[in-house]
Chain length 313, copies 4
C-alpha cells in the first residue's frame, strides 16, 4: 500500500521534486545501464523517478516513482539491519566497517585482512552478512522480503526469478569471493546455498515509493512503520554511518561531498538516502556512471540537498 | 589570545566536558604515544584536554585544554582549505576525495591511479596540496602559520624546529612518495624544498583552545573569525565531507560510526571535530590506538556525541 | 637395499647417493610435514629416499626410494606435458610461463592479468592445464594415471581416495581460483567437475623410483620409455625451462642457485629433477621449509650437483 | 667486417653468426627504441650486431659488433659480481634472488618484504648492490669501469655523461625506490650520492665485443681474463642462476624457454648471455618489445641455441 499525503506535514518537498524532475528532463547524458545481465541492459536510461517518505509514513514523488525496478545492492542495507538487529556487535568481528578503497584491491585486501571484508556493502561483506542471517533464520531472503513488504505496505513486492537466475549464471566472481572467505573460516553455509540466497536478494523488484518507505526506520532512529523497534538508536546511527562512508561503491567520498547524506546505490539505477530525523528519499534512473551509480540519481540528490540545505554537513 | 565565555550562548557544554573528563580520568588504558620521533615518544599518555569553540568565538574546556601539543596531520585540514580557497575545483584533478582503504595499499593505489593520491589527508595527498599551495604562495607553511595565528587569536603559535628536523631525519617514506608522484608529473616543486615545507607544517604546536578556534570557519560554512569568507558554503561542505570519510586514517568508518562528526586526527594525539552550524571541538591525549588515533580522544568525542546527541546521523 | 640395475651404464651415481644419504642421516633439522590435511601431517620427517633413473630405463637409489608417498604438485609436470603434447602453443594463450613472484600476489596478478595465471605450476595455472586436458580427453586424471603407470612400469601406482577427499574438504581456495578464472572465461568445465579432476591428480601416490622413471622423457628430449615421442625436442626444452624458473614455489631462484637443475617439488616432500640428456632424479623427505620444499630433498640435490658437477650452469 | 681471431679454437660459430645476421636482416619488425630519454630514442632499430667470445679471450662477430651502445641494465651483472666477490653471502641478507613477478608489483613487494628487493636485477635490487659496493669501495662506478676496461682490453670504454645526466633528470622513480628502502634501513649512503653512482653505471657505453669479453669470467666459472679469480666456482654459478631466472625483466621465463641460457638485457637493446664452460655472447639491436628486451636480440639468441644446440636444457 502506498500512502500519499497522509498528514499535514507531508508534501513539503513536492515543489522541489518537480523542479528537479524538470531540470533532469532537460539534461542530456544519462550514462549507460548495467550490461552484465540482459535484464538490466534493456532498461531505458531516460526513465526517472524520485520519491520522498516522511516519518509519519506519507510518501509522494515525481516521474516514474511508482514504477518497480531492480533494487540490486540497495537491499544490502536491509539485510545488514536485519542481521544487526539479531546479533548486534558480534557481526563486526566478521565484517569491517571501513571504506574499501579502490575496487581493484578487493581481493588483495581480503587476503591481507584474513578473509574479513572491509564493510557490509562490498559484495564480499554482503555475502558474509547474508551468510550470518541465513544461519540465524534459515531463510535470509525470505526475511528480507517480509520486511520490505511490511515497511512499504506493498504485499506484491517480490523477487524477480529471471534476474536471480541471470545473476547466478554470471556469478563466478561472487562464488570466488565466497569460497575465498570460506577458506578463512568466515562463511558458515555451503557456498552454493549461500549464493542462492544472495542472488535472490539482489533480484528484489521495488519502486521508489516502496524503497523510500522501507528506509524510514533509519530516519526514525530504528523504529519500524508499526512503531516497534528494529534497531537501537545507536545501531541506526551505525547503519547510517556505514551508508555515508561505504554506500556508493568507490564514490562514497564524492557522494558525501556532493550530496552529504547517508545513501546506498544499486546497479539497477536506484539510490536510497536518509535525512536523519526528517525523511528518506529514493531516486531511480537506470543510466550509470563509470563507478556504477545512477547519473541522474546522484544529480537529483545533489540538487535536492542544495535546494533544501538538508545535508548533514 | 584565548577567549572564555565571551557571550551568553557559550559554556553550554561545560558540564558535559567536565563529566567526560571525569570519566576519562577513571579509565585505564590510553594506548601509546607515537614513537617514530623522540619528541612525540616523550609525551605522557595520561595528559588529556578538551575544548569547545562556539560560532561567536567563545572557547572553553577542561583538563590540559590550553597546553600546546604537536598538531601533526591536523594541519592538513587548514592547508587543504587554504589551497581550495585559491584554486577551487582544479585541485581535485590532482588529488582525489575518496577513502584510501588499507594503508598497506597506499603505494599500489598511487601506481594504479597514475600518481593521483586518493585524498588530501593521506600523506601523499597532503604532499600534493602543499606542493600546490607552495606554487601559488611561495611559502605554504608561512601561509598556514599566519592563518592559524589569526583564527586562534594566538600570535605565539609557532613551528617547533626540533620536531621539523626530526621529521626530516625520518622522512624517507615521504621522500619516496613525493618522488614517486613527481615521476607521474604530479609534483611541481623540487622534492627537497617541498619536504621542507611539509615537515614544517607537521611541526606546528598549538593547544586544544587554539585548534578549536581555528576550525570554526568550517562550522560557520566558510566564514573566518573576522567575518570574511575563506571558502564558499559548498567548499566548506566539501572539506567537512572529506574529513568525515577520510579524516582518521584507516578508522574513518569506525569514527563515523562511533562519533558521527567530521574530524581529523594527528599522531600527536590531537583530534579536531566539526558540528556544522553549531560549534567545533578539539581533544588531546597522546596515547594512540593501533591505527594512529588518540584512544582517549576518540572515547571523549564518542561520549560527547552520545551525551549531547549532536551527531550528523 | 634393493638395487635394480638394468644395464651396464647404470649405477654410475650409486656411491654418490650413498654418501649423500649418509650425510643427510647425520643432519638434524628436517622441517615439518605439511599439516593442512591429516594424511600429510602424519608423515615422519626422518624418512628419506633418493633415486636416479638413467636414459636406458635403469633406476637405483638409497633409503626409502621405493616407498610410495603423496606426489601432490609433482604431477603438475606430467599434466602439463600431456596437454602440451595435444594442443601445442595454443596452451600458452591461457597460461603464462613467467615466475609468479611472491605468493601473496597470486590473486592480484590474476586480476591484473585478466584471469591468465602466470605459469602452469602455481595452483591457478595447474587448474587451467587440467581444465584443458579434461576438455580434450574427458578424463584428465585417468590420462595422467595411465601415463605414470606406463612410464614407471608400475601398474599398481594409483590415486589415494582419502587424500583426494581430504583435499576436496579443504578446497575452498582452489575453488575460489577456479571461479575467479571462470569469471574471465578462462575455464571451460564446470568448476566442481574440474576440482574433482584436480584433486585426484594431487592424490597420486608413487615412489622415488616410479617418479624418476616417469620423468625420463624430459631427459630424453621428449621420447617416452617405449621409444615413441610425447613432446617435440623444443617442447621438452620448454617444460624444463618452466621447471627451472617456476618449479619450486617462491624458491625457484634459490633452487636454481643451489641446485641448478630443472626441478618440481610437492608438499608431500618429493622433488623431481632433470639432467637433460643424462638422467633424472627423485628425492623424498616429508619435512618442509617455510616455502613448501623438502628440506632434506633440496639439501640432497644441492649435494648431488656439487659432488657431480652436473648443474646446467 | 673485421674479425679478430686469437686462437685456433675460435671462429667456431662464425658461420652460424653470419647465417643469423642474414636471417635477421630479412626480418621486418624490430620493435621500438626506448624513449624515456632522448639519447636512447634516437637509435636506429635496424642496427644489429652480435659477438661471441671464447674462453681463451678470442672474440669475433657480425654486423655492428664493434659499435659502442648504451649498456644500461647489463652493467648490473658486473656490479653484482664485484660486490659478491667482496662480501659473499652477506649480500643476500639485503637483496633476494627470486624472480619478481609482474613489474606492477615492485613497490608492493618491497613493502610486503620490508624493503628487501626480490633480486639484484630489478632497479631496487641494483640500487642496493650499488649502495653496498659504494660503501666498500667509495667509488662503485669507478670500480665497475676499471673492471670492464680490464676484461674487455678496451681502455677507451667509458661513461656517457649526457646519458647519466638524462637518467638523473628522469630519475624520480629510482629516487622513490631508494628513499623507500632507506626507510627500512636497507640503504647506507645518502640517496642523492647513491643515485649519482647508479646513473653513471647505467650510462656505460660499450660494444658487443667489449661486453662479450667482459662476461667471459662467468663462462670460466669465476676466473678473470688475467687468470686471477674474481668469484668462487659456486658464486659464478649463483650469478648465472640469477641471470637465468631474473635477467630479462618480466620475460625471464620466456627467455629461458626460447633461449635457455643465462642472460641479461638492457633497454639500450643489448643482451649478454653465457654458455657455461664454453663461451659468451653479446647481441645488440635497439628496437625493444613491450617488456623491454631487444626484439632482434632475443630472436638472434633463440636462433643461436637452436642452430648449435648449446642450451642448458
Amino acid at each position: 500500500m502506498v500512502i500519499m499525503a497522509a498528514s499535514t506535514s507531508s508534501l513539503t518537498f513536492q515543489p522541489i521534486l518537480e523542479r528537479i524532475a524538470e531540470e533532469i528532463g532537460r539534461t542530456p547524458g544519462r550514462g549507460r545501464p548495467a550490461d552484465y545481465i540482459p535484464a538490466l541492459a534493456a532498461c531505458d536510461p531516460r526513465r526517472f523517478g524520485m520519491a520522498v517518505a516522511e516519518l509519519d509514513g506519507s510518501v509522494y514523488g515525481v516521474g516514474d516513482w511508482r514504477e518497480p525496478f531492480s533494487t540490486q545492492s540497495i537491499t544490502k542495507v536491509f539485510t545488514l539491519a536485519l542481521d544487526l538487529a539479531r546479533e548486534g556487535d558480534e557481526l563486526w568481528e566478521h565484517v569491517g566497517r571501513e571504506p574499501s578503497g579502490n575496487p581493484f584491491n578487493s581481493l588483495i585486501q581480503l587476503e591481507y585482512e584474513n578473509g574479513i571484508p572491509r564493510n557490509p556493502f562490498i559484495n564480499a561483506g554482503a555475502l558474509v552478512v547474508t551468510d550470518r542471517l541465513q544461519t540465524r533464520t534459515g531463510d535470509a531472503s525470505g526475511e528480507l522480503l517480509a520486511f520490505l513488504r511490511a515497511e512499504s505496505g506493498n504485499p506484491t513486492l517480490d523477487f524477480d526469478k529471471d534476474v536471480a537466475a541471470s545473476e547466478s549464471a554470471h556469478g563466478d566472481r561472487n562464488a570466488a569471493l565466497a569460497h575465498f572467505m570460506a577458506s578463512y573460516g568466515n562463511i558458515d553455509n555451503p557456498v552454493p546455498a549461500l549464493l542462492d540466497q544472495y542472488f535472490r536478494q539482489c533480484s528484489v523488484t521495488a519502486s521508489c515509493a516502496d524503497l523510500a518507505l522501507a528506509t524510514t526506520f533509519l530516519a526514525r532512529h530504528g523504529i519500524r512503520a508499526d512503531g516497534t523497534r528494529l534497531l537501537t538508536r545507536s545501531q541506526a546511527k551505525q547503519v547510517n554511518a556505514v551508508m555515508l562512508t561505504c554506500g556508493t561503491y568507490d564514490a562514497a567520498g564524492d557522494f558525501a561531498y556532493r550530496v552529504g547524506l547517508p545513501g546506498k546505490s544499486g546497479v539497477g539505477g536506484g539510490i536510497i538516502a536518509v535525512v536523519p530525523g526528517r525523511c528518506t528519499l529514493c531516486v531511480w534512473s537506470p543510466g550509470l556512471d563509470e563507478r556504477g551509480n545512477s547519473v541522474a540519481g546522484v544529480a537529483a540528490l545533489d540538487r535536492f540537498t542544495t535546494l533544501t540545505g538538508v545535508s548533514v554537513f
